[in-house]
Symmetry: C2
Subunit: 221 residues, 2 copies
DNA sequence: GCGGCATGTTTACACCGAAAACATACTATG
DNA sequence: CATAGTATGTTTTCGGTGTAAACATGCCGC
């Protein structure tokens, strides 16, 4: 195991030894607390204990650092959702399971979720690795739609149409929750029931034979 | 008609005469071109031809100006959607009509739409007029859900549940479209059909008796 | 052992939001 | 009509930002 970098424990060494990772880690903390809009490369450098321009040795600019964070976030989402898909279950169940995992991740990591969409990052199209990671995350859903269509569980149409619909619904729910738009005290359901209910309605939109009376919590009669 | 302000045509007058409106107008242009994150009060002041701190006479800070823009945007959304609701039509049709108007507005005014959600504005809760405007916009949808439930068109449950679902779905679609996430060239439908289809699926989620085979464009068989 | 290259620092510039002290001119009151 | 008060705009200043350029350091391969 070659010692390719200087000892990170040696605080006096000229080279940091692990600046890139340290910056990314500090950046995650920063956006979690203050949002991506308020991220400052100089502040990051101070936190890590390095001069204010050192980050530019590892990232072309601030946008470059955000792009890398976004790429990691897409990969995490891919892993979390695909990890919940079980070929022995119905596609409907898999959609509920993966959807729940997606929503819980988004809500537990609001700033990272906002980062990967939204406009903190500019010129996304100029970063192929970011595009690839985003595409992989979407493919989990697209594949599920294709399976469900083939098995007759979902409406028999182009899977892209179904995937767009599901994604819109789940994405919108995630953002409205993150943005605190669902005024909590007016809600008839607790958060977990609200999440489950939303996913069941999302599923209902694309199911071939939707239940006339879905079994979510409180019907008002 | 009293001349409450100095002649706006007199470019040499010390007082601008209409600074507040001029700043808001310039701000709309600016965020349309560069997004709300890049809005600069100083740049606005230059455009309008006034000193760099003059805007602070009309807005407590940059956030205050953004809040006012957001309030106006919510009001525009309320007007556009409620204007499409026709009591002589079914609630389902009204949802499709209002939903289409909402989406077209959002997509035609992406930066304004992003502004009213998202995190460019901070401490939203400290601006009651903004809250009121947002609430009014949501109430258009909530009222429609209540009507549809009462008339037996929509699932018989708390209208808030249905409204949350519809709003999530439409909001998500708007943002994914605005953010350019729906890679156009892979889509099986043109944009108008895609919009219509999404709304029909959104309606299907909450309809009491959803069609088994909705009549949107291309089934793949 | 030494030269090159990756990594870090110093310095500098142009921009920003915002606070404080000051200047101007509209408007309401006598 | 005169003038005092107030709303509006300016100047100055501060601390913060992104990032480019020139320079310093020290690790790694020859």
């Amino acid at each position: 195991m070659s010692r390719a970098v200087s000892d990170p424990n040696n605080a006096t060494s000229y080279h940091h030894g692990n600046l890139r990772e340290a910056l990314l880690s500090a950046a995650v903390d920063s956006i979690r607390e203050q949002g991506a809009e308020n991220l400052s490369l100089r502040a990051l450098a101070r936190v890590v204990g390095v001069s204010q321009t050192a980050p530019y040795r590892h990232f072309a600019d601030k946008n470059g650092l955000l792009v890398e964070l976004a790429r990691q976030t897409f990969d995490e989402l891919s892993g979390i959702t695909s990890g919940r898909i079980d070929a022995s279950l119905s596609c409907a169940d898999n959609l509920l399971r993966a959807g729940e995992a997606y929503l819980r991740y988004a809500i537990a990591n609001p700033e990272k979720y906002r980062l990967i969409f939204g406009s903190s990052i500019v010129h996304r199209e100029q970063y192929p690795p970011l595009q690839t990671a985003a595409r992989s995350a979407f493919n989990v859903l697209l594949q599920l739609m294709a399976d469900g269509t083939r098995r007759g569980e979902f409406l028999h149409t182009d899977p892209m149409i179904l995937a767009n619909n599901c994604w819109s619904s789940i994405h919108g729910f995630a953002l409205l929750t993150i943005d605190g738009v669902f005024a909590r005290k007016e809600q008839p359901l607790g958060f977990d029931d609200m999440l489950t209910t939303h996913l069941q309605l999302t599923l209902r939109a694309i199911s071939r034979e939707p239940q006339e009376r879905p079994d979510f919590a409180p019907f008002s009669d």
